[in-house]
Structure formats: C-alpha cells, structure tokens
C-alpha cells in the first residue's frame, strides 16, 4: 500500500509540473525556439520516469508530445504540423523520451533486484552465522565434557595406582581405596554419559552388526562367571541375525542388564541372554530368577537416580544405569522394556532395528 501511495503522489506531482511548465512556456512561446521547448519537457519525462516508473514516464512522454504539438508548433493551438522538419523534432522527442524512460525503468528494476538479493544474502549469512554459532556451542559442550572427564579421571588414576602399590605390600585397607576409586570412576562415567545424551552430544554409529557378535561381547567381561550361571542362547543352526545398530552402546545396555541380573539374582540361579528376531526388530532378552521389580516401580526403574526402596545409600552405583540404557536404546530407534517372569524373576527386553542383507554375504 505504501508503494501505491508513493507512486500516486509522484503521478500528481509530475502532472502538476507538466501543467506548470506548459503554462509558463506558453507565456513566452513567441520568444523561444521550438527546439528549445523540447528540452524542458524531456527533463520532465526523465524526472517522472525516475521517480514514478515506466508507466508515468510513458504517460508524460505522450502528453508532452501532444502539448508540444498543440501549443508550441506553428500553427499554434492546433494539432496539425506545419513543416516536415517539425515532425522530425516531435518524433525525435518522442523517441528520446521513450528510450530514456525504458532505460531508466530497467535500471531501476535492476537496482531493486540487486537490493532484494543483497537482503537475501544478508539473511542467509545471518542464518549461517547462527548455525555456525550452534555448531560452535555444541563443540564447546563436547570439549567441556571431555575435559571434565579427563580432569576427573587423572586424580583417580593416581589414587588407584598408589592404592594398588600399597595393597601389594599387604595393607587390606588399600584394596578398599581401590574399590571406591573404581566406583567413583564408574559414577563419573555414568554422569558424564547421561549429560552427553541429554546434550545430544553422544555420537552414534549405526552399522551392520550381528547378534552373535554382540552377545559374545556382552559375555566376554564375565569370563570368570561359571557357564551355568551366565547362559548365552544363540540359534546357531540358523543364519546369523543381522541388525543395524551401534555396537558399543548396545553392548553397554546389555552389559548393564547382565550386571544387574548377576547382582540381584541368587548366586545359584541362572542368568540368560537370548537373541531372536521379531519382524523388523532384533530382540535381546536378559532373564534372571531374582526377586523381580514390584508392580508399581516397573517404569520408575528407568528414571535417573532411581534406587529400590530400602536399599542402603551406598549400594552399587548412582542409579543411572537403566536410565542411560533406555535412552541409548531409544536413540537407536529401539526400545527397552521390563516384564516380570511367571514364577519370579525379571526379563528385560532390548529391541533394535534388524537388517536384511542384499545380496547375502555367503554368496560373496
């Protein structure tokens, strides 16, 4: 609308100028040469097209043409033209005015386009700067977490190393120092990881992996646990189950579940890990014959800092394991759920995206 008002004003102004010019020059038309009349009109046309655009320019040119012909060409006050040379002057005026209007208008269009582009570029660069700032903030967050982790671990390394040295000389208390240093270092790791997950700063590498490989790696750190206590169930008579998931983080989830199961279930009861496939998902189940989780707490166990009622404050870890595990499962497009077992015990089920290989690698 603002543009409409502005162009309306310039139409009014330039038509007024045209009228005033005609009146003024009409008064002195006996004293000026015809060719000199043309110049002021040309100026009006140029001025009009510069401020009012193409339409105003052409209108002024047309009007000027008629005014010049009518008032300033002999015979005066008629539209007829006396000499052929006068035609030349008139037509030259019209042509000059039209070309000038056209050129000016085009220049203005281009200027406007250039301005629009500049604004666009500015807008884009503002956006880019913003994205850059976000990336930078993320990087700093990453670096901060890494450096906090480094700073917390270095003194723990020294404490642990010295405790091992003292323990070697036979002081039993040193063993406790070492255990507590280990505990603290696990808690630090858990806290850092939870903050990494929450900050979206945990890199995930979803790749083709097999359930054999994952289950084998879950069992590996528990090599000292008797075979009857920790059972791995893989269906070796069928082709290997393949999925697309982050090996390290999935290992962490299952490792945590197995550790919990071994801790809470009676020493003589078995803990099982089984891998199967259900439609588009791989299913990893960790089963134990422990006390299970009371009805009302089956979702609460996945909350950070959860601790079973009545457990001593220094039992085990900070209560972050299952919260981290569920977050890690969901980050990979999977789920982690709990179900109680008939006859007592718990079953934790991790579902991760399965994959179908094309072509099957056996043929390679």
């Amino acid at each position: 609308m603002i543009l409409g008002i502005r162009s309306f004003t310039s139409w009014l102004i330039w038509l007024a100028v045209l009228i005033v010019l005609t009146i003024v020059m009409h008064g002195v038309r006996q004293d000026i040469e015809e060719a000199h009349v043309v110049i002021p009109y040309l100026l009006v046309v140029l001025g009009g097209s510069a401020t009012g655009g193409r339409a105003l320019g052409f209108t002024l040119a047309g009007l000027s043409f008629l005014l010049i012909d009518y008032y300033f060409q002999v015979p005066f006050d008629t539209l007829s033209v006396g000499k052929p040379l006068d035609w030349v002057v008139l037509l030259a005026f019209l042509a000059t005015a039209a070309v000038a209007t056209q050129l000016l208008a085009r220049a203005q269009d281009e200027a406007r386009e250039a301005q629009r582009r500049t604004r666009e570029v500015e807008e884009l660069s503002r956006l880019a700067e913003h994205a850059e700032a976000l990336r930078e903030a993320n990087r700093l967050k990453d670096m901060l977490l890494a450096s906090v982790s480094h700073d917390l671990r270095t003194p723990l390394t020294t404490i642990k190393a010295l405790a091992q040295e003292v323990a070697a000389s036979g002081d039993g208390r040193a063993r406790i120092i070492e255990e507590q240093a280990d505990r603290l270092s696990r808690m630090v790791a858990d806290l850092l990881d939870l903050s990494r997950i929450k900050a979206g700063a945990l890199p995930l590498h979803a790749e083709i992996n097999t359930s054999d490989d994952l289950v084998g790696a879950v069992a590996a750190p528990f090599a000292s646990v008797p075979r009857e206590r920790l059972k791995t169930i893989l269906h070796l008579d069928q082709p290997a189950l393949v999925g697309r998931f982050d090996f390290v983080q999935s290992l962490r989830i299952l490792g945590n579940l197995v550790e919990n199961a071994l801790r809470f279930a009676p020493d003589d009861s078995p803990v099982e890990i089984e891998a199967t496939r259900d439609g588009a998902m791989l299913v990893f189940t960790v089963r134990d014959r422990g006390p299970g989780v009371p009805e009302g707490e089956r979702e609460r166990i996945f909350e950070p800092f959860y601790r079973p009622d009545g457990s001593p404050p220094d039992a085990g870890r900070a209560g972050l394991g299952l919260a981290i595990a569920r977050n890690l499962a969901e980050l990979q497009g999977g789920t982690l759920t709990y179900a109680s077992l008939a006859g007592g015990g718990s079953a934790f089920t991790l579902r991760l995206p399965a994959a179908d290989l094309e072509p099957p690698p056996a043929s390679l």
Binding site: H150, A161, A189, V215, G216, A220, P361
Partner: protein
C-alpha cells in the same frame, strides 16, 4: 629382549608420562618385565630418548604437556616398529581407533589396573619377539591350524571350509595375533582399495568365520571383539 623359561623380558622400556606419580606406578608395575626403565616427562624428551636408547617397548601417555601423544606415536612409527602401548584418559572408541590407526599397538584406559598394564606390555613384548624371529607361515591356536601359504585351515585335523573372504580376514588378523586391528585396517587388508558395499559386511563375515572355527561361537576365544574398535586374534596361552 631376552627370553628365559618362557618369560620375555625387555632390555629397555621407555615410559613417556608427565605425571610423576603415574610414572612411578608404571615403573613399579613393569619392574619384572624390563631390565631398565627410562623415563621422559614430555613428548620431545621422549622422542629423544626413543632414538638414543632404542627401547624394546614404549609406554606413552596421550595427555602430554608439549605435544599430542598421538603425534609422538606417529613420529616413532615413522622410523621404528617398537611396540607402543598407550595410556589414555579418553574412553571414546573413536579415539582408540585413531590411536591404532596411528600405529599404536595397544592401549590401556585410565584409571588402569597396574596388573592389566603389565599383562598388556608382556603380551606386546612376546608378540614383538615372535615376529622378529620369523614371519610364521603356519599359525596354530588350540586345535586350529592355519597354513597361510596353502590357504588351508584345519580344526582337530579336519578341514574347515572358509570362503575366500573369510580366509582373507582370518589371515589378516591371525598373522598379527595379539594385536587389535581396526575395522579399517582389516578392510584395507582384505578388500584393498575396492569400492562397494561389501565392506560393511565385515562383521557378518566375522560371525560366519567364528561359527566355523570357534569351539563355542557364543563365547569366542580366538577371534576377540574389541567393541567399537576392531578385532584381535588371540593365541590361547
């Protein structure tokens, strides 16, 4: 390096670590594995000592005050094959992969158990000694026998039928037994510069390989997974 009654002992081990307490702990842990332990508190000094002492093994801390430990590792690797065992406070797998790709032989994450460190160092010394004696044409582990030139694998005397790719993977890791190879290093050894998506199936091939050569594929002992990093062929002791 010396070997007596099956125990490998280094003549010289170089420890590059800026923290004096940790340096002392490392020294104590390795007392039985080395006749002499040389210490450096920063990277420059460490590189100088590595060149002058030609140690049998280097224990290298990554967080050095004057230069990144990974640079020290690369520099040593540019002129020597001496085993490098890295101490790192970072627990990220990407970091470990970068270390191995830079030529480190093994790593121990802080806070580490001194026993664990000593065991890793002994394993690297044994491996270095074995590979200096001869490049073995036949690798035996448990009841498994791998004849590398003949491309023949037997288990308890029975032929094991491997696909060409399975054999290539086995050869890559078994010829460097005791050393973790990154996924990338195995890709390069098996597929060379081939382009295509065959490489993403490495883990599937490993699984199929294990099912053929492991006594219990659910608890593999020969082909060991180093999560997020790669695979290692273990010679059972």
């Amino acid at each position: 390096m010396t070997q007596s009654a099956g125990v490998v002992r280094a003549r010289t081990v170089l420890v590059i670590e800026d923290d004096a307490q940790i340096r002392r702990a490392v020294k104590t842990a390795l007392a039985d594995s080395a006749e002499r332990i040389v210490e450096a508190a920063n990277g420059r000094e460490g590189l100088g000592l590595a060149a002058s002492w030609r140690p049998d093994l280097v224990v290298l801390d990554l967080g050095l005050p004057d230069m990144p430990g990974i640079e020290v590792c690369r520099e040593i690797r540019s002129w020597s094959k001496m085993p490098v065992v890295v101490l790192t406070a970072r627990h990220s797998e990407d970091e470990k992969v970068a270390l191995l790709d830079a030529g480190a032989d093994d790593y121990v994450t802080k806070p580490f158990s001194t026993k664990e460190l000593a065991a890793r160092v002994r394993a690297q010394l044994r491996r270095a000694l074995a590979s200096s004696l001869s490049a073995e044409a036949v690798v035996t582990a448990d009841e498994l026998r791998i004849d590398l030139p003949a491309r023949r694998v037997t288990r308890a005397g029975e032929d094991v039928h491997l696909t060409p790719i399975e054999f290539d993977i086995l050869r890559a890791i078994a010829s460097q037994a005791g050393r973790t190879l990154t996924h990338q290093q195995i890709f390069d050894a098996v597929w060379g510069n081939a382009v295509g998506n065959a490489q993403q199936y490495l883990r599937v091939h490993i699984t199929n390989l294990r099912r053929k050569i492991e006594r219990d594929p659910a608890k593999p002992r020969l082909v060991v997974t180093e999560p997020g990093v790669g695979y290692r062929f273990e010679l059972p002791r």
